[in-house]
């Protein structure tokens, strides 16, 4: 009975749309209820991996079969989706009170959830494609309903990349269908294994293109920044936390279930890793470095965190590509942890945006004295993101490092180190400029967000620390997944994970951490009490400060560092795509004049013609 997980959110979507017209809070409440139901009911399914479902349909002489099944991998992703959408929905009950498009938002949000569930349960290409497209389109509408003008343009960039990738996917799938007569995964994997290796690799590359776009891997990362930066503030956590990971899910399917790794197993290799895998991991490394450098330059906090998402995806890609037990474990851990702490960051920022109405970092400052809980959420999340113990982010990064050092992949490790150390820089920027520093006069009256928005942040803070101490809980499901995919599993206990060279005990770490703090607190407490003074009473070379605004260091925070990369950033990839798009539009415009002349019927005719040609090409191949 897997279809209900798709059907219920989809049905609820329309209910939410209708009811939300009456009451602004109804839509988000319904979303929360549906996600809660999904979460509970999916959690109860843990372990029943034989669950599957199929429908068949006869169309134009073809017997089409829609297959769905519950695997450990899809269970994990589905549960994560349900959990994160539950938190977001709770958060958005209050925060959407002033949002103009909240009905459409909830409609689309529930549809995205439904389609993502479909993607995860799909066991054949056709189901996968249908739900994938549904997901792309609904999330496109969600992104474009952001408040800013740029949102539409950003959404178009996202859409164009996704559509182009989807076509390549479709071509490859139709080709495989021609050969095997089935859309299901298993026959396709068999066929690809027995086929000539270059052709299989080409087909699989075409199939994985949409996943690469979705995951924001290096040359295709251009949509991520604008889409994240401009999406509605409540959707950004989902976009960064979950939608990017759907791409990773697809890649895991391609690599392991469509036997990409088996095909390239015996090709030329570097340090025991097939060269293609290594190149793919290098792509991940480049993604880390580009994302990091661009994140440091940003002045808009949502875009900054969006770039940070790009760079964190690089870690996951590296781990999956090297495909050692440790690497796979590390990247699955990082996937979960990134979901957790990145949603926390985006929720905290959403809370800030909810109160201040801006995303520019230099327009804020000193919010810690007004929104302490939001600050605490952000702080915990960035500690995790920077990989500092005792949080979950440290554990996953540590495992990935172990995997890289074990095999001696120097350059991948170098990129990983770079991304990790530089992440201090970019996560500290919003901390320093938004939460610390001088409080702006126009923000004097700001209050902490309402209770319904605090709850998700509090839960996420707890989860970050909890998984930082008990990584074994996450390891249970990861072991099941690696068993299912045929990867060796890693030794672990509730508190520790056995790395390549050594293990460590997170309970010890937590205790020692506490001990250190207690000693420091004692030193602090026994010393003289200090006097509280205002923020404006600071050292200013004897000059009186009256204007908090000009005494806040926020704009171009890392200028010396940025200067190092000014040349590189000038030749940005976005510029390249922009020129390409402009040229394409120009030629498209002239073509339109010649053929269509602006009449709708002509467009219809051409699309039919295109379809016929595509079908013919498919037939001939």
């Amino acid at each position: 009975m897997l279809i209900k997980y798709i059907f219920i959110p989809a049905a609820a979507a329309f209910a939410a749309y209708v009811l939300n017209k009456k009451n602004k809070k109804a839509g988000a409440t319904i979303t929360a209820l549906v996600s809660a139901y999904l979460l509970v009911s999916l959690s109860l399914l843990y372990g029943s991996w034989e669950l599957s479902q199929s429908f068949s349909l006869s169309l134009m002489g073809y017997q089409l079969e829609f297959l769905m099944a519950l695997t450990p991998l899809s269970w994990l992703f589905a549960v994560l989706t349900a959990a994160i959408s539950l938190l977001i929905a709770i958060f958005s009950i209050e925060s959407q009170a002033d949002f103009k498009f909240s009905s459409v938002f909830n409609l689309n949000f529930l549809l995205v959830i439904a389609s993502i569930m479909g993607v995860f349960f799909a066991r054949d290409f056709l189901t996968l494609f249908i739900f994938w497209e549904l997901m792309t389109w609904t999330s496109f509408y969600l992104i474009s309903s952001g408040k800013k003008k740029m949102a539409a343009k950003a959404a178009y960039r996202y859409l164009i990349l996704s559509t182009a990738a989807a076509y390549s996917f479709l071509m490859a799938v139709i080709f495989i269908f021609q050969q095997t007569g089935s859309f299901a995964f298993e026959p396709a994997a068999q066929f690809l294994l027995n086929n000539s290796a270059p052709q299989s690799i080409l087909l699989l590359s075409a199939i994985s293109l949409p996943f690469l776009v979705k995951a924001g891997i290096f040359p295709l990362h251009v949509w991520v920044k604008d889409a994240h930066g401009n999406a509605p503030k409540e959707f950004s956590p989902f976009l960064s936390g979950m939608l990017l990971k759907v791409g990773i899910y697809g890649l895991i399917v391609v690599f392991h279930q469509l036997s990409f790794f088996k095909i390239i197993e015996n090709t030329i290799s570097y340090r025991g890793l097939p060269l293609l895998s290594y190149l793919f991991a290098l792509l991940g490394a480049v993604t880390i470095i580009t994302g990091t450098i661009l994140a440091i330059r940003q002045e808009d906090m949502k875009k900054l965190i969006a770039y940070s998402s790009i760079s964190q995806m690089g870690y996951i890609i590296i781990g999956i590509a090297i495909a050692t037990p440790l690497g796979f474990t590390g990247s699955m851990l990082h996937l979960m942890n990134h979901l957790i702490f990145k949603s926390t960051i985006f929720l905290a920022l959403a809370a800030v945006i909810y109160r201040t109405g801006t995303t520019k970092m230099y327009e804020m400052g000193g919010l810690i004295f007004r929104m302490p809980l939001t600050f605490a959420a952000y702080l915990t999340a960035i500690i995790a993101l920077a990989g500092i113990p005792p949080t979950n982010g440290f554990i996953s990064k540590w495992v990935i490092y172990q995997a890289l050092i074990e095999k001696g992949y120097l350059f991948l490790a170098l990129a990983a180190f770079f991304g990790s150390i530089a992440s201090f820089m970019y996560v500290f920027k919003p901390l320093s400029t938004v939460f610390l520093g001088q409080l702006k006069p126009q923000h004097q009256e700001i209050k902490e967000v309402p209770l319904m928005m605090k709850i998700p942040m509090l839960i996420l803070i707890g989860v970050i620390v909890f998984f930082g101490v008990f990584p074994g809980i996450q390891m249970n499901i990861i072991t099941q997944i690696s068993g299912y995919l045929g990867i060796e599993s890693v030794n672990y206990s509730l508190y520790s994970i056995q790395g390549a060279f050594s293990a460590w005990n997170s309970l010890y770490i937590f205790n020692i951490f506490t001990a250190g703090f207690v000693i420091a607190l004692l030193v602090f407490g026994f010393a003289k009490k200090s006097k509280l003074v205002g923020l404006l009473d600071t050292y200013s070379s004897g000059e009186y400060i009256t204007d908090a605004e000009s005494y806040h260091y926020a704009y171009q925070y890392y200028r010396p560092f940025d200067r190092l990369f000014d040349n590189l950033a000038a030749k940005s990839l976005t510029g390249f795509y922009e020129t390409l798009t402009a040229n394409l539009l120009k030629s498209g415009e002239s073509l339109r004049r010649i053929f269509a002349g602006g009449r709708v019927q002509n467009y219809a005719l051409y699309s039919v013609l295109l379809f016929v040609i595509l079908a013919a090409v498919g037939w001939i191949i």
Partner: protein, 177 residues
């Protein structure tokens, strides 16, 4: 052993530490600043007495006013002094801080520093030589050790007197203390 005795001897220990470790904020508006480099560097080396420079008033124990003070700089000096943390000591340096020195009839330099801030010790001279500076600082150290350098307490007690004098020459003064 009663409580006062413990408190008293603890204060003595602190005074002793304070006299051995003085961080100096040199407020170099006047020409006296030029005598400080030789005092600090290899010829005279004040650091052997535990006296060193501080970067900001928050870290400083001693405010060294090197030379004349116009009314405009006096305002900044008061602000700086109020930003310092007790125990804190003011040292007037050069004749200008004592009686105006060669600017005795200038319309905008103050004549007596101790009317505006509690001065522990003056170092006379125009300019005082490094030997004189060191001598003055050693006297200050002795005063601190004996618990006699209590300018910051006097400032607290006679706050009204100092504020009146300051406002007489400056008009309104923004305050943190």
């Amino acid at each position: 052993m009663n409580n006062n005795f413990v408190k008293g001897s603890w204060q003595e220990i602190l005074d002793w530490a304070q006299n051995k470790s003085i961080n100096m904020l040199h407020y170099c508006t006047g020409c006296g600043a030029i005598e400080l480099p030789p005092t600090m560097t290899s010829r005279y080396d004040m650091s052997r007495f535990g006296i060193g420079p501080a970067a900001t008033p928050r870290q400083a124990d001693m405010l060294l006013v090197t030379g004349y003070l116009s009314t405009k700089t006096l305002r900044r000096l008061i602000y700086t002094y109020e930003q310092m943390q007790a125990p804190k000591f003011v040292v007037g340096f050069g004749s200008c801080t004592i009686n105006g020195g060669m600017y005795w009839d200038s319309y905008n330099t103050i004549k007596q520093l101790d009317k505006y801030l509690p001065v522990e010790i003056y170092i006379a001279g125009c300019m005082p030589r490094p030997e004189a500076i060191l001598d003055g600082l050693l006297k200050l150290k002795k005063m601190i050790n004996n618990g006699e350098a209590d300018g910051y307490k006097r400032y607290e007690e006679n706050l009204e007197f100092y504020h009146q004098n300051q406002e007489a020459v400056l008009g309104e003064v923004q305050r943190t203390q």
